[in-house]
Symmetry: C2
Subunit: 236 residues, 2 copies
DNA sequence: CCCAAAACATGATAAATATCATGTACCTAC
DNA sequence: GTAGGTACATGATATTTATCATGTTTTGGG
């Protein structure tokens, strides 16, 4: 967990136009820049843990993070995938609760911590930021509700196809234009789909047999995007 | 759809201390009171439909409403249950999208419509309301994420028990202290649980055989609350 | 480089759940 | 009140999905 505070400023951050802070006033951005504490997390490290109290929010400068929830029987459910420009930890903070999910780094990630008091006070004094925050929450709520419906109604074959497309939307491809730009274990994919690991492995093999994907360890290439969309059977 | 505009004011509304507007400034409440349009919807009527554009938000004065989402194959998924004091339609409005769910009245309900422009402008000028709104969105997001995890990981027996407890939390009991204060069809309960109607009917019969509930048409009595909690197997 | 542990893969089987089929009860409109 | 439609109930069956078992491959640490 290396610091990189001095290296970056919020005013020059690559994410400044796309993150939820894009509409915030410069004076507040300057204040956030002053108080932020930046760190680098290595793959597998935990940014925060389910059950602990939030002391602020985390803004991802660069990297990939999973937000996951432990089910009653200890099985992981991956709730969200995050990338540069995304903000983490606001849900628990706004609800005034402990974290209901853990944030675990998928690959080396630079994160800036913003203290709770500052975040809340900026939120209360900057209507632009507040409005963007509401939009963000609304969008997340929408995604969660759609996922809920699909989980209840769609077979796992469709859900796995949809999940692969979702990963592509979130992290995109590598330079070759077809390899998903993230390494997830089969178990993690299963925990994203909401199914048993073996089922995911089996279906991925089928997708490979059908020529839709190519598998090379944790590298996944999307060969037939259209057919994958058809398999996902999306309407909405 | 009868008007009842003149009968109620926001300043005297029974929900004024508990709704999301509880922290809003009086001047804005007065403005909302001026512009609101109140209606009574009868059981089965639709307040708004999935796919149409939001023109404002709806504040429930009294009554019961379901928010449901049509899956790709046309199967209903009930996303939320709403009661007096709840606000409807903010999700689509804040995201700037069409409604992703329909609001259908479960029993005669009084609703006040607040025009989009007014709602947005109050939201931008009243930090208290904005903050309450963020809390509301965060809470809904949390509920959705927990439901997601349970849907992915818990068997339907546990989910049905949890759903019955959820209905109880939302609408409470009738005067006898044990009959759920809402009439839902078996199909609606199934669409809340996320399962086939027959499975829900079968399990309700089992719950009855086990003495946990009593069934009399759409009247459902919770006889053994503790055992129902145990059956739901809740940890979080 | 090698070893042990973890991850991956696949077959066999079991369990959970959905679907189909049929009969009954119950509204509700006439 | 009764006919016809809908909701409820329940059994039989089919399908989906999970679990268990076993072998193989990959990976990371010494």
């Amino acid at each position: 967990m290396t610091h990189f505070h001095d290296a970056v400023t919020c005013q020059s951050c690559a994410q400044r136009f796309t993150s939820v802070f894009c509409k915030a006033k410069q004076e507040f951005i300057a204040e956030i820049n002053e108080q932020k504490v930046c760190n680098i997390y290595k793959k597998g490290q935990t940014i925060f843990n389910e059950g602990s109290y939030p002391f602020g929010v985390y803004c991802i400068n660069e990297g990939k993070v999973k937000l996951s929830h432990l089910g009653d029987d200890g099985k992981e459910q991956i709730i969200r995938l995050l990338r540069g420009g995304d903000v983490l930890g606001y849900r628990a903070l706004l609800s005034g609760e402990r974290y209901s999910a853990s944030a675990i780094v998928l690959e080396d990630t630079q994160v800036c911590f913003i203290p709770k008091e500052l975040f809340i006070s900026v939120l209360k004094n900057d209507a632009g930021l507040a409005f963007e925050m509401m939009k963000l929450l609304s969008d997340e709520l929408h995604k969660a509700e759609v996922k809920l419906t699909h989980l209840a109604q769609k077979p796992i074959r469709e859900r796995l196809a949809e999940t692969l497309l979702f990963i592509k939307e979130t992290y995109g491809f590598e330079a070759d234009g077809e390899t998903l730009s993230v390494r997830l274990s089969r178990e993690e994919i299963a925990n994203l789909v909401g199914t048993a690991t073996e089922s995911t492995i089996r279906l991925l093999s089928e997708f490979k047999k059908d020529g839709m994907v190519e598998l090379d360890g944790k590298k996944i290439k999307i060969l037939k995007h259209k057919e994958l969309v058809r398999t996902a059977n999306l309407q909405d």
